[in-house]
């Protein structure tokens, strides 16, 4: 796990916990109070300018963590700092410096044209008119919102509304952008637009981005760093490639040969499937490079075409959820 004392960390959590007391039915009338640990001691630090993916199965504690980082929930224990502030104590000050997008909640005014919501946000965040205008023009361009700016929000499609939600969270030029499931329910084109926009935002403005998601496409496209949480605890903190190396070091080389032939015998690889002239060779990325392997195959057979398959990140994460921290 990475250290939490990093001076450049713009988001920091140390031993962060949140528990809820719930009443559970225990007999006809009687109810027992049960304490549920939604977040059970999470520690991490996010350096300025990075994009971090915060993933985990449903009920793992992702949203609860984000709500503590944004000042919505008061932590039960531990420490949180965002942009140097303690979120729940200095909520209003923090609100000016962060942007938040919820996939399942709207910050837009339902019955008003989208443009009116942006204008209201200018007043709410007290952004100078010229700065607001510049920023708005940029968002409208990049998110292609011009055609529906004057449409009441209730008449927008989900993809259009989501672009509006992202824009309104950014008009005050926040240092950190939190997104809770930003691509949930979006079609492929809208997803791609949102991802490209976030990548640009990070590259051009240096905005730190923390996003929770179930969509591993979001992570592959955007996140240099990954935090996996399960049962309220961090079970992985590192780069996407580390995750692959650690949990699924095998890659597959798919070769098309000139003619069907029996399974090749190649050093450092194992044929796992043969289908006509096509063969699948599995190899360990830590001991064998794809280039060496291709050279060896070319010597052994008449090679026509080839591709290298990365392990499916979804399978990797699914395995971690299943095995939990026992995988370490």
């Amino acid at each position: 796990m990475s250290g939490s004392d990093d001076d450049t960390a713009v988001v920091m959590a140390r031993d962060l916990t949140k528990h809820f007391t719930v009443r559970r039915r225990a007999g006809r009338v009687r109810r027992d109070r049960v304490t549920v640990e939604a977040v059970a001691g999470v520690t991490f630090a996010v350096p300025r300018g990075t994009i971090v993916g915060y993933v985990g199965p449903n009920g793992a504690g992702k949203s609860t963590t984000v709500k503590m980082l944004t000042g919505i929930l008061v932590p039960s224990g531990g420490e949180v700092r965002v942009a140097g502030l303690e979120p729940s104590r200095r909520r209003i000050e923090l609100a000016r410096r962060i942007g938040v997008v919820f996939g399942q909640r709207s910050q837009l005014w339902w019955d008003l044209p989208l443009a009116d919501s942006f204008e209201l946000a200018r007043h709410l965040y007290a952004v100078p008119r010229s700065r607001h205008a510049a920023r708005l023009t940029e968002c409208v361009d990049l998110l292609e919102m011009a055609p529906f700016l004057q449409t009441p929000v209730r008449q927008l499609s989900l993809g259009q509304r989501m672009r509006g939600e992202i824009a309104i969270a950014l008009l005050h030029d926040p240092e950190v952008l939190f997104l809770d499931e930003p691509t949930i329910g979006l079609d492929v084109v809208s997803k791609a637009k949102v991802r490209a926009f976030l990548a640009d935002l990070n590259a051009l403005h240096g905005t730190t981005i923390v996003l929770t998601t179930h969509d591993l496409g979001d992570i592959e496209r955007l996140c240099s760093r990954l935090l996996i949480i399960d049962h309220g605890r961090t079970i992985f903190d590192g780069a996407l490639n580390d995750l692959r190396d650690r949990f699924e070091p095998n890659r597959t080389l798919v070769v098309d040969l000139a003619a069907p032939q029996p399974a090749l015998r190649i050093e450092g690889a194992q044929v796992v499937r043969v289908d006509g002239a096509r063969q699948w060779l599995r190899f360990d990325r830590r001991t064998t490079t794809a280039a060496d392997l291709v050279a060896r195959v070319a010597v052994a057979a008449d090679l026509v075409d080839l591709t290298v398959e990365e392990p499916d990140i979804e399978d990797v994460v699914a395995r971690i959820y299943r095995d939990g921290s026992a995988a370490f």
Binding site: G71, I98, L124, A126
Partner: protein
């Protein structure tokens, strides 16, 4: 950004949005006028059998009803969107208010203005006109000022009751009914002279949900009635102080309650 400007901004946005449903505004206003009129018929019905109620004539009770009613209608106009708090908390939409750089109470209150309460205010004003036509009042400058104070303090005290009552939903999501009992119940009790209630209820209305200070105590002064229950005379003038304290306590309770907000899943 100051609270008043923010409030105006959000309210104007809301009215613009509501303007798309203006037919429903007209119907709501008429309905509000009609239902509160029925309410006053119930008071008149009592007087078909009695000449006085706890020593109060029909015009004097109408005075309580009208003056208190205008205050209630003003509170309804400005803060009744607090009734949406339970909805906001249940759906988790309250999250959005917490990530904006503005007070949560201002945002909830500014979420809507209940223009239909113009109907209620009109009805209460008519009842007050009826009251003034029949109650022989020796007008002085002090009494005229007190009339204004009744309306203003009434609006503030009911607002405080509304704010404090809404806090229940942060503790239990099904708190609406308890909240309604306090707000609308408070208005009901403010319409009758305190003399008709038992000692236990009198204390509740005097000190806990202080609706006796909305119209009853100041009305004693305007109508020139003697102090009941051996209370000192200054109680008749205490309404502005009570309103200020009630608002202070209610806002403090709100801020404590918000720290217990639990949001909802995902």
């Amino acid at each position: 950004m100051n609270t008043l400007r923010l409030w105006r901004l959000l309210v104007v946005a809301r009215i613009r949005a509501q303007w798309q449903y203006r037919a429903s505004f007209v119907i709501d206003t008429i309905a509000s006028f009609a239902t509160s009129s029925l309410d006053f018929l119930a008071v008149l019905a009592i007087f078909t059998h009695l000449h006085t109620l706890g020593g109060w004539s029909v015009h004097q009770v109408a005075f309580l009803y009208g003056a208190g009613g205008i205050g209630f209608a003003m509170a309804d106009l400005f803060v009744s969107n607090l009734e949406q708090t339970s909805q906001l908390v249940r759906t988790g939409q309250f999250d959005v208010m917490l990530i904006r750089p503005a007070g949560t109470l201002t945002q909830v209150i500014a979420g809507d203005v209940s223009l239909r309460s113009v109907g209620k205010a009109t009805q209460a004003s008519l009842v007050l006109v009826y009251a003034l036509s029949g109650a022989a009042i020796h007008w002085t400058v002090g009494r005229a000022l007190m009339m204004l104070a009744i309306v203003a303090c009434g609006a503030l005290i009911f607002s405080a009751v509304w704010i404090a009552g809404s806090c229940i939903v942060f503790l239990t999501v099904d708190g609406d009914e308890a909240t309604n009992a306090i707000t609308y119940g408070g208005n009901f009790f403010a319409q009758y002279p305190l003399d008709v209630f038992g000692p236990w209820l009198r204390r509740l209305l005097g000190f806990v949900v202080p609706t006796a200070f909305v119209a009853y105590f100041p009305a004693l002064y305007v109508l020139g009635k003697p102090m009941p229950f051996g209370l000192p005379g200054w109680v008749r003038f205490a309404s502005p102080l009570v309103a200020a304290v009630a608002l202070g306590v209610a806002t403090a309770v709100w801020h404590i309650a918000v720290r217990h907000y639990r949001s909802t899943g995902s």
